[in-house]
Amino acid sequence: MPTRTIVDATIPSAGRVYDYLLGGHHNFEIDRRAADRVRTLIPFLPKLMRLFRWCLQDLAYELTYVRGYDAIVDFASGLPTSDHLHSAVAPGTTVIYSDRDPVSVEYGLEILENTPNVHYFQADCRYPLEYLSRPEVQSILNGKRKIAYVYWGISMYLTDAEIKNISKELYDYADDDACMAFYLQPYDPESAVGQQVMELYSKMGDPLQFRNLPSFKELFKPWVADNLGYRTMEEWHGVESPLAPEEMHFFPDKTVGYGVYLVKGK
């Protein structure tokens, strides 16, 4: 994992590139240039990002109003801007954000300052057990009935072994009625464009990892998808794919990505 952080404004950062491609303002010229290069290689990337970013509001609603979770622990949260989970959860829900990037944490703390029941910690999402065991997190979660865990828009930064470890640690830690919401990013790494994009992100210090649906399912075990299953982003939002047919070639599963609610299935 890269040791550089988003604080370094002299080299592009994947987090700030993401922010820029979503129309945010937390980025520098160097990020915008990198983003433009990425966009030249994969012009549909902003659409893809938007599709999975839109899910955050749905997740908040579904987990709290529909499924009755009273706490959400969100990993690799990014900036908690006004479209993030806390803006759409049921009243009284506890939301704990985290990210490994110190600027996102500081920024988050600043904008969430007066928001009741919303917290933000610095943490590496690859080690959920270490994080959940921290006294400051424990003291917030203490007494919470049902906890939902969210890993959204992060699968591409995690290796197989890391996803496997996250699944296992959370499975062992969580209550039987817990839920883990996960966004899966498939892509064809073998394609020429895939290679170029991966090279660009590697230079930023954030190497990308892609896998197909069966591989994801294997890594999530023993978690299983709930009755909604692995929903493509198109199904999730009720939209046609915004990508041109030739752009779909980069997606081995013929979808830009999947969202899933993983449960213990006991």
Binding site: G24, H26, R53, W54, S82, I111
Partner: protein, 147 residues
């Protein structure tokens, strides 16, 4: 406050869902544009609220309220292109109706005034958001570096 436009308000109320559908079709192309944070499922509802807001204005033409409403649309996640498509469509709906009537001068101006105030609010709201975010980012970097 300008005089109310009850005839126009009636037309808007009667055609509420049709106008919302028109707006939805008009903003579809900008769904994936930069600065657009509204998920497709929420968009329909927000656009219905926009028709209601216009209706309220026609009955109680308070421009300051419209400007404030425009500012809030920034928070709702409407992007630039969406705002342009939205206001163009509202104006064209208004003109379509007015062209079949014998409108008064103030009726002619009503939707123009409304959409301009909405845009004014949106632009000032967007500028304020930019400045706020700039400040927050600056401070966050400083604190992260001081750690």
């Amino acid at each position: 406050m300008s005089p109310q436009h009850s005839k126009l308000a009636e037309v808007v109320a009667e055609n509420q869902s049709k106008i919302a559908d028109n707006l939805f079709a008009a903003v579809q192309p900008s769904l994936y544009t930069n600065k657009m944070h509204v998920a497709p499922r929420r968009l329909k509802q927000l656009l219905e609220e926009e028709v209601n807001a216009l209706h309220t204005y026609l009955l109680q033409p308070d421009t300051a309220k419209v400007v404030e409403h425009g500012r809030q649309l920034v928070e709702s996640g409407f992007g630039h292109q969406t705002m342009i498509n939205l206001t163009v469509t509202l104006r064209s709906v208004g003109w379509q109706w007015l062209s079949q009537q014998n409108p008064t001068a103030s009726e002619v101006m009503a939707i123009e005034t409304y959409t301009s105030a909405l845009m004014e609010g949106y632009l000032t709201g967007f500028e304020a958001l930019l400045q706020r975010e700039q400040q927050l980012t600056h401070e966050a970097y400083r604190r992260a570096q001081d750690r």
